[in-house]
């Protein structure tokens, strides 16, 4: 025990001051500088300790390194203290132990450093942190701006949605006002023709009677299969379809007009949107009109027949030439024939060609190819049809008796069209020209025939006419405003 103590305290050695010959300036320099270094070395670990306590976010590796640095610097401080001690006391053994300890701690600290250096390099500098912070601030500012813009957009959008909702409601209200209580149903069906939406159902049905069902469930097989075929066609072709159908009811037959339009349903599936209108009243009205019109035609023809019979009966037993009866009968027939052309167009108008051909049927049959008709399709009014008919009858009758069609070689050209008259208004122009007939002798014709062609017809049609007796055939032209034709 005494040996170790003597070794530690350096018994038998001279103190270090002896080597310095106790020179006061050297002693003072060594003691002073070692003391200052030691104090500084002891102060630094306290600084590190304070730092580590404050920086609670340091990880374990950094903390360990801090402890090692503190130990290393503390140990260095101790070596300087020993430098002062050994000036007077030769405790070189103790000094050696402390130096070895300091060397060990220094070595360990130096060895730990490489593993931790890369991490230390990565630690951001305050300047980098400042820049990062500035970037973050700018980013936050940009985000705030974006948020403000989004808010403006949101407000604008909700206003727009509100406007559109108002418009939609208005449209819906108009739609409902138009259809409520009307005889029109609007509905949609999916691809398998199941009703998916119905408004204003007809035939006494309720919406709930139709939804989830199809035609075959709510009406007889006959219209149902026809309607479904039309709807499938609309779906297949992608084109609008229209049809009419009837449904037998105890109260009578109901008629409907159906419009089918292929569409995309609310849920995105394909389907059809349809409008079905009850047109039973229209149909009945139409049928009634047809009956009345048929009756009118029947009666007017009968009336003409009666007029003819009465004239005939009157003439009988009186001294009336046969030619009179024939002429009257022919003219009555001409009127009746013009009438036929009107019946063909339901009394609305007559096709001019029909009117002319009707009057000439007899000569067209007897002299095929010798009468040429040439003109565009023109519809003339009922009155005009009667007068044009009468005129063409007179011309045809004369042509077969005395004119171009009385011989074997003559022919007749009949042309018509629409052209502006002298005042620029559209006018009907009709011409009758006989050619290559027997030599024409003017005059000597029956008076009323000429009256019809030169006075009655042009006057009735507010136009002008010209009858000329060219040597090779009669010519007649008529010009009348289209408004009067």
């Amino acid at each position: 025990m005494g040996g170790l103590f003597n070794w530690l305290l350096g018994a038998g050695f001279a103190p270090h001051g002896f080597c310095l010959l106790w020179r006061p300036e050297l002693m003072a320099a060594h003691v002073g500088s070692d003391a200052v270094i030691a104090l500084a070395y002891f102060a630094i670990p306290f600084g590190i300790y304070w730092f580590v306590r404050r920086r609670t976010d340091l990880d374990a590796a950094h903390r360990r390194l801090a402890v090692m640095f503190a130990a290393f610097i503390g140990a260095c401080g101790l070596t300087h203290v020993m430098g002062i001690v050994t000036l007077w006391e030769p405790a070189y053994g103790l000094q050696a132990i402390i130096k070895v300890w300091t060397a060990a701690v220094s070595l360990l600290t130096a060895l730990a450093l490489p593993s931790i250096l890369p991490q230390l390099v990565k630690l951001p500098s305050p300047r980098a942190l400042q820049e990062a912070n500035a970037r973050l601030q700018a980013e936050i500012k940009a985000h705030r701006h974006t948020l403000r813009e989004l808010e403006v957009a949101r407000v604008g959008l909700s206003q727009k949605v509100a406007e559109q909702t108002r418009d939609l409601n208005l449209e819906k209200a108009r739609f409902e006002t138009a259809l409520d209580g009307s005889n029109i149903t609007v509905f949609e069906q999916d691809e398998s023709l199941v009703y998916t939406w119905v408004f204003n159902p007809l035939m006494g049905l309720g919406v709930e009677d139709m939804l989830g069902r199809s035609e075959v469930d709510i009406m007889p097989a006959e219209p149902a299969s026809h309607i479904q075929a039309v709807k499938r066609e609309a779906l297949a072709a992608g084109l609008r379809q229209r049809t009419e159908f009837s449904v037998e009811r105890p109260s009578g037959t109901l008629w409907f007009d159906l419009k089918v339009e292929p569409t995309t349903l609310r849920d995105g599936r394909r389907g059809v949107r349809c409008v079905s209108a009850d047109i039973t009243a229209q149909k009945a009205h139409q049928a009634h009109l047809e009956v009345i019109l048929r009756e009118l035609n029947h009666r007017s023809k009968n009336l003409l027949a009666m007029v003819q019979s009465i004239v005939h009966q009157t003439a009988r037993g009186m001294d009336v030439p046969t030619s009179f009866m024939t002429r009257v009968s022919e003219r009555l027939r001409a009127l009746a024939q013009a009438h036929d052309a009107l019946v063909a167009r339901n009394w609305e108008a007559a096709d001019l060609r029909d009117v002319i051909e009707g009057q000439l049927r007899h000569v067209l049959d007897l002299a095929p190819g010798r009468v040429v008709l040439c003109g565009e399709h023109i519809e003339i009014a009922p009155d005009a049809a009667h007068y044009v008919g009468l005129a063409v009858h007179e011309l045809g009758s004369n042509a077969s008796k005395y004119g171009a069609l009385s011989g074997a070689a003559g022919r007749v050209e009949i042309g018509w069209g629409v052209a502006p008259d002298a005042s620029g208004h559209p006018a009907l122009k009709l011409s009758w020209r006989e050619r290559d007939g027997p030599k024409v002798v003017a005059g000597g014709r029956e008076g009323f025939g000429r009256t019809i062609l030169e006075k009655l017809v042009p006057k009735a049609m507010r136009g002008r006419s010209q009858l000329t007796f060219a040597p090779d055939g009669v010519a007649w032209t008529l010009e009348a405003p289209l408004s009067a034709a």
Binding site: L293, R294, N297, H298, S300, K301, N302, L304, A305, M306, V307, Q308, S309, I310, H312, Q313, R316, T326, S329, E330, L332, R333, A336, H339, D340, V343
Partner: protein, 123 residues
């Protein structure tokens, strides 16, 4: 001598002056007249009797004459139909080719149609 000479013709026509006109015309052609009858019903008995042909107004008092015409045709009798243009649509296809006169017709029209009907029957 005309094919019409001495023939008995049934006449169904509801307008009396027209019917009288037909009677006169038939007398001129050398025919005898059965009728004229203003309705199909009244003509039935005569139609079943001894006649050689018929002139039938298509529409008499709103009734169509075709059932009677069918009956006469079954007996092989020649028929002339009289019609206004409006009735053309109601003439059944089976009578589409039958000789026809359109009101108002002349005596000559009637003679032509009647002769045509008798010639068809003979052919």
């Amino acid at each position: 001598m005309s094919v019409l000479q001495g023939k008995t013709i049934l006449v169904v026509e509801d307008e009396l002056p027209v019917a009288m006109g037909i009677e006169d015309a038939l007398a001129d052609f050398g025919c005898r007249v059965a009728g004229p009858f203003p309705t199909v019903d009244e003509a039935r008995t005569a139609a079943a009797g001894t006649i050689d042909g018929a002139i039938l107004d298509v529409n008499v008092r709103g009734e169509l004459v075709f059932p009677l015409a069918e009956q006469l045709r079954a007996r092989g009798l020649p028929i002339v139909l009289c019609s206004g243009y409006a009735e053309i649509g109601v003439i059944p296809d089976t009578f589409a080719g039958a000789p026809r006169v359109s009101k108002p017709y002349t005596d000559a029209d009637l003679r032509n149609a009647l002769e045509a009907a008798f010639q068809r029957q003979a052919a």
